[in-house]
Amino acid sequence: MTAGVFPLVRLLPVMLLVFALTLAATGIGSSFMPPERVVAALAGQGSRMDEVIVWTLRLPRVALAILAGAALALAGALLQRVVRNPMASPSVLGITDGAAVGVVLFLWLFSDQANNLTVSIHWQPLAAIAGAAVFGALVIALASLDQGSSKPLKIILYGIALAALAKAAVTLLIILGPVYRASQALTWFTGSVGAAHWQDVLAVGLGLLAVIPLLLLQRLTIRQLVLDPQSAAVTGLSLDRAQVSLLAIAVFLTAIATAHVGAIGFVGLVAPHVARIFHGQFRSGYLVSVALTGSFLVLAADTLARIIAPPLELPAGALTALVGAPLFLYLLVKGRQSHA
């Protein structure tokens, strides 16, 4: 416990990275803006045109990437503690696929003959949250009904089973619908922050804000979960309650992020690994480091997705997979000693 050392010092590099990337990402686009103009526009001192571009087009997208990245990364870190396995991630739990069921169902139910939506597209996040919540609740319910001794493994298995179920349902719905819907749904699955509005930012931001006090209260519990179940219980941890409540927080974070940016994968898996190596998973401020790393990853992926093959914009989720997965494999081999 290095409580004497101020954790901010260790967090500073990743904070600076996120900040620098924010400036760069706000500047990059169909019309490039150098950092000083970005800063001027942010401070309300730029040209009218710059301010419009920054405030209505680019900043919501950047902010959404930052917030969604943080939420997904935190969900991953919590899950890895709950199931005591560094390979766990939000997509394992069927939450992401559950959200997909919600979205496809929404597209299917509210389309008319001409493939036009009969209700506003702004309801889509709500459908995603509903889908994620149903499948998340199913995992939690199955896991808490189970009185067996090997609960972490069971949580993973139930999650994988329900994810497969959700995938099957999605496939079925897509096959039955027109191809136009299929490609729309596919875009969503791969994950993209392209269509960001301030209300998306607000929703994800409020969700994160609501979770922070809970995480602060559960700080010691989250740390205690690294012990084997029996040792954790004899130190006074109410294991079942801790597992279920943290699982619920992880489901909530995943649902809220997935609903607004789609299924951006690998952030929840990779960010905790990176934070573990550069910050240390037992130092105070670990979760902050995880969140910032997640923000950085999604923001970087989205920025890359915009500039890699203009004018075509790749979904950010494709980039997090392309970049995140090899990175993950590398970290796995490099940090082998830390998960023995």
Partner: protein
Amino acid sequence: MPDILASLDRVSAAYDGAPALNEVSLDLPDGRIIAFCGPNGSGKSTALKVMRGLHRLDDGRVEIAGRALGDWTQKDLARQVAMLSQSPDAPSDLSVEDLVLMGRFAHRSRFGGPSADDRAACDRALGITEMAELKDRALAQLSGGQLQRAWVAMTLAQDAPRIFLDEPTNHLDIAHAFELLDLVKRLSRSENRSFVIVLHDLNMAMRYADHVVLFERGRIAANGPTTEVLTQEIISSVFGIDCRILPLDGLERPVIVSWGKASNTGVSA
């Protein structure tokens, strides 16, 4: 009844339907070193887990320090009874000091860092187990004996007056085993802490325990002061071996010598 550590009243428990404890009733005195002995699968470890609320009761009732097990909150119970389980596990990159601090879970406040009390308890536990100079090491860098001592330190940092140890000498060579049990004896005498220890080695029980409970097939075969329980007749009948109990010069307690399965040899007990 402050002088009762734990009492079991017709307790039954099972593993996946296979009975492990069969209507066991037992009162354990406080302030002693109590050894749970018996053949493999006799229910001694299950009894310990049941007493700490780690294993479900199928029937019966357990009281710890005069209060029914179900009436304790997890944290209150943790402040009263610490336990070292049989194969504890923590991430190998955890430092010894962080591990020991985890023993303070039930004492720590939800906000802020560890208090002065927490620090003091950890330092004391590290000192007693002679782990102070290794406190910054990661668990992966420790030898088997050191690792076991680190876990003992974590258990001691919990500052509970009652401590359960489930086969604590399992991974230790004989010198480290003696060292650990000497430590237990010291703590019992100087700080008046109670210990319940599951032990395989009858000679260890003979040497260190004040009180022995002998389990046999989910029931209690004998229960009482060490020298009254560990006798030739009882050991022979419970373990099915031939043995003799011999006094040694300069030792307070006798030693148990065994030479084979019952009546395999001509030597009669």
